[in-house]
């Protein structure tokens, strides 16, 4: 026979409530579990006899804890090394019990076990009273977000079932929990060994009027599904198995429906949900909710990677590269300022630096004090800073996307909660006007400017592959328009990158920012009455759409068309060659997508037409639309 428990796998009927049992070592967690199983009639056949036989073989009195302590090492040392999970049921419902070790060295296992629980029992030995681990576990439960707690004062038989002793422990622990912001917990005096107040009411403690353990358990509620919270859909992967481009992930909060406009953070791109993809499911899916692992396709192709978070535009996550975290530290060496780790939040992973250790909580009484090093199993408030912008949430509002872990080498060394107190949402700094700025009305109208200049202002936004002829055409068009009396200026990629955008590289984020700035500057030129010609590949529709929104009706998209083969043959700057050899990464057309315009205002075909013909076409377009009094951008006074 073996020890431990073969769960009666046959009798789970409904969803089980996940319950963790924590507390100081030897305060009776495993004994309580054994007793709960026995008294609720959940033990499989033969198990009681097996435990009895094992105890006899070892020459020791009957020990309920053997039910949980399945490992040889645990049986011999009499402590629980790891978490284990087993199932039992009361007449009301079923439970998964996660037995969490109380030995100090095993805090990581306690956290592993407790992190997924919906409710907790904290065991306190009536004789020993509140111990260090009792406090730490209470603190960690709170940090892990477990709000339903019952405190079990065990071994009441060892203190003569004293109501005073119980009250004394209750008052001590309640004061501690209140100090860390926990309230509403229940206190239950029991003797787990004898079964007092587990299922059956204790005769020896008739002074106690509160619930038995089973009554308290049955009073817990399953965690509500966070469907009503703002949408958070962290992208787990992007699949291109066939012609579909599927964004896969799990909805952490909220819901997604076909036709919804999604905002992706931190890239700040938007798109509309085209489909929710399924397999072996009757009928198409039009909506999915929190908790579901799904795949979606979008109405247009975006460059989205694992780690992006989709939300609605009006309840977006916070964007920041610095935040405060309250964390528990599991590393072998102390956590100090300046250390670097890998941060994992949702599906995002990025290097992070500990900028500052703000407060360290005393391991004995968990009072906060100033400190600069966090010992193993310590809890602290730290400031974390990343290079890249992150999409984060306040843990107190959205715990699932507001919590993170740190890894060092091959292991998780910390878990923590995000607090943004005192840190601005950087999305506002980057993408929106600050709310205390108001636009001022110009006293010179667009019409007045057009009348003086002889033409209206506008943006000619050239887009096309590298080598399609954008720069060549832009310079030729500028020259010809200038000759004809137009106020015109070309914003060219290489030139702009030497000044305005000198701080930007070629990452997808930097490219998007490059285009955003050019769009804004071009819009300003247009409003000033000039014709701004831009010559950027600008491969993404979303980026061009943003430029269009900046210049609004003054925006004219010109598609400079030539196919990839032609452009690659021209290769005026030798870039395709470098891209093919891998020297340049993410090169449009080779290793990154080009999204051709849907309905550009004008298309010129440089593959079939000579440069002069193309220039003529563009100039004719300008003459039609920009000459004073004629253009769509000129309003009649």
């Amino acid at each position: 026979m073996e020890a431990g428990l073969d769960v009666p796998g046959g009798n789970r009927l409904r969803e089980a409530l996940r319950l963790v049992i924590v507390g100081h070592v030897d305060h009776g967690k495993s004994t309580l579990v054994g007793r709960l199983f026995h008294d609720t009639g959940s033990l499989p056949d033969g198990k009681l006899e097996a435990i009895r036989a094992m105890c006899e073989r070892r020459g020791m009195p009957f020990e309920w804890a053997f039910l949980m302590d399945a490992f040889q090492a645990e049986r011999d040392q009499g402590i629980t090394i790891d978490t284990a999970q087993i199932w039992f049921r009361t007449p009301k419902r079923e439970y998964v019990v996660i037995d969490a070790p109380g030995h100090r060295e095993f805090v990581k296992n306690m956290i592993t076990g407790a992190a997924s629980a919906e409710a907790a029992l904290v065991m306190i030995d009536a004789g020993q009273g509140v111990q260090q681990q009792s406090r730490l576990h209470g603190f960690l439960l709170n940090l892990l977000g477990i709000r339903q707690i019952a405190v079990v004062v065990n071994k009441m038989d060892m203190v003569d079932y004293s109501a005073d002793r119980f009250e004394n422990i209750r008052a001590t622990y309640a004061a501690f929990l209140a100090g860390i912001g926990v309230a509403g917990e229940q206190y239950i005096p029991v003797s787990a060994r004898d079964g007092d107040n587990i299922v059956h009411r204790s005769r020896a403690m008739n002074w106690y009027r509160g619930p038995t353990i089973v009554e308290a358990l049955d009073g817990f509620r399953p965690a509500p599904r966070p469907t009503e919270l703002p949408l958070r859909f962290p992208v787990q992967d992007v699949y291109k198995f066939d012609n579909r481009r599927i964004l896969a992930g799990r909805i952490e909060t909220g819901r997604i429906g076909v036709g919804d406009r999604l905002l992706f953070s931190p890239s700040n791109k938007t798109a509309i949900v085209a489909t929710i993809e399924t397999w072996n499911r009757p009928g198409p899916m039009v909506e999915a909710n929190a908790g579901q692992s799904i795949g979606i396709t979008l109405d247009h192709q975006l460059f989205i990677e694992r780690g992006e978070v989709a939300s609605r535009e009006d309840h977006a996550p916070i964007e920041s590269n610095v935040f405060r975290g309250r964390l528990f530290w599991l590393g072998h060496t102390p956590l100090t300022a300046g250390s670097q780790y890998q941060l994992k939040i949702g599906t995002r992973e990025t290097p992070v630096t500990v900028q500052q250790v703000e407060r360290v909580f005393d391991p004995d009484d968990l009072s906060a004090r100033l400190g600069d090093a966090v010992p193993r199993h310590g809890v602290a408030d730290v400031i974390l800073r990343t290079m890249a912008l992150l999409a984060v949430d306040e843990a107190r509002f959205l715990p699932r996307t507001g919590r993170f872990v740190l890894t060092d080498g091959h292991n998780i060394v910390a878990g923590g909660l995000v607090s943004m107190e005192g840190y601005p949402d950087q999305r506002d700094l980057i993408t929106k006007r600050s709310s205390n700025l108001h636009s001022v009305e110009h006293r010179v109208s667009a019409v007045a400017r057009a009348v003086r200049n002889g033409h209206g202002g506008g943006v000619l936004w050239f887009t096309g592959l590298s080598g399609a002829g954008k720069s060549t055409l832009a310079m030729a068009v500028e020259q010809e328009l200038f000759r004809r009396g137009y106020h015109v200026y070309v914003l060219d990629g290489d030139n702009v990158r030497q000044g305005l955008n000198a701080n930007l590289g070629f990452s997808p984020d930097d490219r998007a920012e490059n285009i955003r700035r050019v769009g804004q500057v071009a819009a300003l030129f247009a409003q000033a009455g000039l014709i701004a010609i831009t010559a950027f590949i600008s491969p993404y529709r979303a980026d061009r759409q943003r430029a269009r929104e900046a210049a609004r009706e003054l925006f004219h998209e010109v598609y400079v068309e030539a196919d990839l083969m032609t452009c690659e043959e021209r290769d005026p700057k030798g870039l395709y060659k470098k891209a093919r050899s891998g020297e340049i990464a993410d090169f449009t057309g080779v290793s990154a997508p080009y999204e051709a315009p849907d309905s550009p205002e004008l298309t010129v075909d440089t593959q079939r037409q000579a440069v002069d013909d193309c220039v003529g076409e563009i100039v004719a377009y300008v003459e039609r639309h920009f000459a004073a009094g004629k253009g769509k951008d000129i309003q009649k006074p």
């Binding site: 073996e2 073969d6 796998g9 009798n11 592993t112 787990q236 908790g291 994992k344 091959h410």
Partner: protein, 264 residues
């Protein structure tokens, strides 16, 4: 979302994490009900295809019906099937009890297959409720260079942040069914219409509840001849699932020793 939806969603999440994070990944397919569910879940996760090899570590002693099942569904499901043999029983630790020695051949077969294909991740269909030693497993469980499991010092794992970063020479076991029970498996088989071998259904008052090698797996008394009857039977039983697996109970720690050495 009902209970089965939640289980499915969690398994899909785990499989997608494994596919994204692990370079050289394979799924073990023992041809039993659990691994059939696992293959099915992979098809759910990846929209109809299994984007990594599916490996059968063949002791050569499975039931004929299981081999027929393998050939049929490897084709029907368009699996990239790898079949690897196991070394003879003489290669196994001689201090193990007889039946456990026979089972341990699979450990060696798996070890050799991992080395041969240079796999860095192996997806296995174990469940916490099967056996108390398995109850302690992590979802992403690191293994030493010979496949051994150090249950005394397992890495922390919480909030679905799985450890996927490993030293060279080691590999990960990924357990997408860890949170399922035997009854969940059968209910899901029924809901999705997943095929299983007939041996699970009673003939002449006996059926197999768990399928291993022919010589160390025994049928249990049962009248459950259909899926519905199997589910009804399990809703009332208090007999452990692996009661028909001789290797588990020869000595108190036989299964623990098998697992510590790398058994699935």
């Amino acid at each position: 979302m009902d209970h089965l939806d939640q289980l499915e969603s969690q398994s899909v999440y785990i499989l997608r994490e494994a596919f994204n994070r692990i370079e050289r990944l394979a799924m073990l397919w023992s041809l039993g009900k659990d691994s059939n569910v696992m293959v099915w879940l992979a098809r759910k996760a990846f929209f109809g295809r299994v984007p990594f090899p599916v490996m059968h570590i063949d002791t050569g002693k499975k039931f004929p019906a299981m081999y027929a099942f393998r050939e049929r569904y490897a084709k029907a499901w368009d699996l990239n099937l790898i079949v690897e043999d196991c070394p003879g029983v003489e290669a196994v630790d001689p201090t193990l009890p007889t039946n456990a020695r026979s089972a341990a051949r699979k450990t060696l077969g798996l070890r050799d297959a991992i080395a041969k294909h240079k796999f860095t991740g192996i997806i296995a269909g174990i469940r916490r409720d099967e056996e108390s030693v398995r109850a302690k497993e992590r979802v992403f469980s690191p293994r030493g260079d010979t496949g051994q499991w150090d249950f005394r010092d397992q890495p922390p794992e919480f909030w679905d942040h799985f450890n996927s970063d490993l030293p060279a020479g080691t590999h990960l076991r990924v357990h997408p069914l860890l949170h399922w029970t035997e009854l969940d498996i059968w209910r899901y088989v029924r809901r999705e219409g997943i095929p299983v071998v007939d041996l699970y259904f009673a003939k002449n008052g006996m059926r197999y509840r768990s399928l291993g090698d022919q010589d160390i797996t025994f049928p249990v008394p049962s009248q459950a001849a259909t899926l519905d009857e199997v589910i009804t039977e399990l809703e009332g039983t208090r007999t452990p699932e692996r009661a028909g697996r001789a290797m588990d109970r020869e000595t108190e720690d036989a299964f623990e020793r098998l697992r510590a050495a790398g058994y699935m």
